[in-house]
């Protein structure tokens, strides 16, 4: 693996038992991603996008093949090591936002830092910075149920980036947002990708997302059918 390559999968296969048969959700995938990418896995529902992100995100393990994420071999990680890798270096953004309902916006964003044991002063600063980036500093004391969908997803983005992770995995982040909020959220992410040099990998079948991507990997029935780089075309405004 070259230094600039953050992620590399070799002949990655993921099978799920389906009664008597097995379902091949990911079929022999060999891909690599380098630092700073803004890429997307594109495919219809059931094509294996989430499964791929889960394995990259160390939440799941491959059935066959090798997966190297941030220098760690995913299939060999212990639970604890995987948890630590996620906590320090991987940010997740979900379709359904997944904020902790009993925490305030501030505390939701603070949570990963609490897990890391970051001291309080640094923590406060980092949380307010992250909320500034997503434009929600004034909502720090709100609860998730007081936020709109767009605001919720921006809080989730703040929670993902507050620890300045190397990798951010966004699984259909706009699926529950209207057009305006989708663009808003994506522009925020483009900006963070540039300012923080964080690598973004999306899963999506949303045209609005696809137009922002600089690399489009098409997945059908668990197979990569296309992998095209967009070579810095003008970003839509």
């Amino acid at each position: 693996m070259q230094d600039s390559q953050l992620i590399e999968t070799q002949n990655l296969v993921k099978k799920f038992p389906m009664g008597r048969e097995t379902l091949v959700a990911l079929d022999n995938i060999s891909l690599s991603f380098s630092k700073g990418e803004f890429s997307g896995i594109i495919g219809p529902s059931g094509s294996g996008k989430t499964t791929f992100l889960n394995i990259i995100g160390t939440l799941d393990v491959p059935s066959e093949g090798n997966v190297n994420v941030l220098g760690a071999q995913v299939e060999n990680l212990s639970h604890k090591e995987a948890a630590q890798l996620r906590n320090r270096h991987i940010g997740f953004i979900f379709q359904t936002f997944n904020l902790l309902p009993v925490y305030t916006v501030f505390e939701n964003v603070e949570f990963p830092l609490l897990l890391q044991g970051v001291p309080v002063d640094k923590r406060k600063q980092a949380v307010m910075d992250a909320l500034d980036w997503v434009g929600l500093a004034d909502r720090a004391k709100s609860r998730p149920n007081q936020l709109s969908g767009g605001e919720s997803q921006r809080v989730a983005i703040a929670r993902a980036i507050v620890k300045k992770p190397s990798l951010i995995l966004a699984d259909e982040p706009t699926a529950n947002l209207d057009a305006e909020n989708s663009h808003n959220v994506l522009q925020t992410m483009v900006q963070l990708n540039q300012e923080l040099e964080a690598t973004f990998i999306f899963s999506t079948h949303d045209e609005k997302v696809i137009q922002y991507l600089r690399r489009k990997i098409s997945l059908i029935d668990g197979k990569v059918v296309k992998d095209e780089a967009m070579d810095l075309v003008a970003q839509p405004s």
Partner: protein, 389 residues
């Protein structure tokens, strides 16, 4: 610390469900502590009055004396030996002579125990002094229960019949000079108290006794041949056995009570893990280990116990204090248990008791909170995030 804060937020966030659990559990706390306190009060109260009016620090039994064999009573008497006589003279002991007899109240026949006791004794808390004040030929003292069952009133004359040392029947009229109210059934039911010297005279046994009761404050007594010293433990054995049997029945009640309270918590935990599986997936994606998530949910459950202890303390401590001070009035019918209870029961509590019950309940709640979290270790985080199990 973070887990603690999150756990508190989570259970307070669950609102009504949490408070229902907490209230049910606090009721279990208070009921169990209260009823153990009542039981302890009952045991102390009964054993204290038994000691004060019957047992003392122990009793010397004449070698033939066997309270379980009334037919042996006829031979259970002897001259009081010098060592014991010394104790009596120092007012540290009181002799009692005992025999079977019969009374004939209003033409009925009633078997009784005739007991001779010195009127001037101060070792036992009973109004024996009443036997020494009047000028009746044969004054008699009975308890209120005895008076009731024999329909005897103050001043009544009743015929006594007994056998003297040779086994010859004799009879005499006695006058009821006092009716005593006592909680101790064993000095009341079927007992007729007479002046010791009179009974000795009636039986032809001057200077003799069947048993000698030692004052409750005397700790060591001499060994005397022909007389067995039975200590408090021995004399309270039957009572303690009875209490033990009751304790078993009562602990079934506690277990049931705790079970009901704890089932609610188990249920809540189980539901909460099911309903919040997506949250669990999120926590894991944020870098929490499963072990930490299990800690979190166990702590949430255990906090119900702490809240219940606080809530229970808020209304339980004033209630318990009030009852301990004011006492609990007992219905007259409880008299028929034959236990020396009195009319008011004062529950007693020790800090140790309350603490150990609290700790015990908290441990049970924690274990019960932990059990459903085993589902978390089986949970696949990717399934959890998809909202599946």
């Amino acid at each position: 610390m973070m887990i603690f804060k999150l756990a508190i937020r989570n259970i307070l966030g669950a609102g009504l469900r949490t408070w229902l659990n907490v209230i049910v559990l606090s009721l279990a706390f208070v009921t169990i502590i209260l009823s153990i306190g009542i039981n302890q009060g009952l045991v102390t109260q009964i054993s204290t009055s038994m000691i004060k009016s019957e047992i003392g620090s122990g009793q010397y039994w004449q070698a033939n004396y066997d309270p379980y064999d009334p037919f042996s009573l006829q031979d259970a008497h002897a001259v009081i030996p010098g060592d014991i006589e010394d104790l009596i003279e120092q007012k540290k002991a009181v002799p009692v002579l005992l025999t079977q007899g019969t009374i004939y109240p209003q033409g009925r026949i009633m078997p009784v125990f005739l007991k001779g006791i010195p009127a001037e004794q101060a070792v036992l808390q009973m109004p024996s002094a009443a036997l020494g004040t009047g000028d009746e030929e044969l004054p008699a003292l009975v308890g209120a229960r005895m008076a009731k069952s024999a329909a005897l009133n103050l001043g009544d004359t009743v015929t006594l019949r007994w056998r003297d040392k040779n086994g010859t029947f004799d009879a005499k009229d006695a006058v009821i000079v006092h009716i005593m109210n006592t909680t101790v059934g064993t000095i009341d039911n079927m007992q007729v108290w007479l002046p010791l010297t009179k009974l000795q005279e009636m039986m032809g046994l001057p200077g003799e006794a069947s048993l000698v009761i030692v004052d409750e404050n005397i700790e060591t007594v001499p060994e005397v041949s022909g007389w067995d010293f039975k200590d408090q433990d021995f004399l309270l054995k039957d009572f303690r056995e009875l209490i033990k049997t009751r304790a078993i029945a009562r602990s079934i009640f506690y277990v049931l009570l705790l079970f009901v309270a704890v089932i609610a918590i188990f249920d809540t935990q189980f539901l909460s893990i099911f309903e919040r599986r997506k949250e669990i997936g999120t926590l894991i994606s944020l870098g929490m280990t499963k072990a930490k998530v299990i800690q979190l949910f166990t702590l949430e459950g255990a906090l119900h116990g702490f809240l219940a202890a606080l809530v229970g303390a808020a209304y339980g401590i004033p209630l318990i204090n009030y009852l301990a001070r004011r006492g609990i009035d007992l219905p007259q019918s409880s008299d028929s248990f034959g236990l020396a209870l009195g009319h008011t029961l004062y529950p007693t509590y020790s800090t140790m008791l309350v603490l150990s019950i609290t700790v015990f309940i908290l441990i049970v709640v924690t274990i019960v909170s932990y059990l459903p979290t085993r589902n978390i270790s089986k949970l696949n985080p990717t399934d959890a995030l998809r909202g599946r199990l």
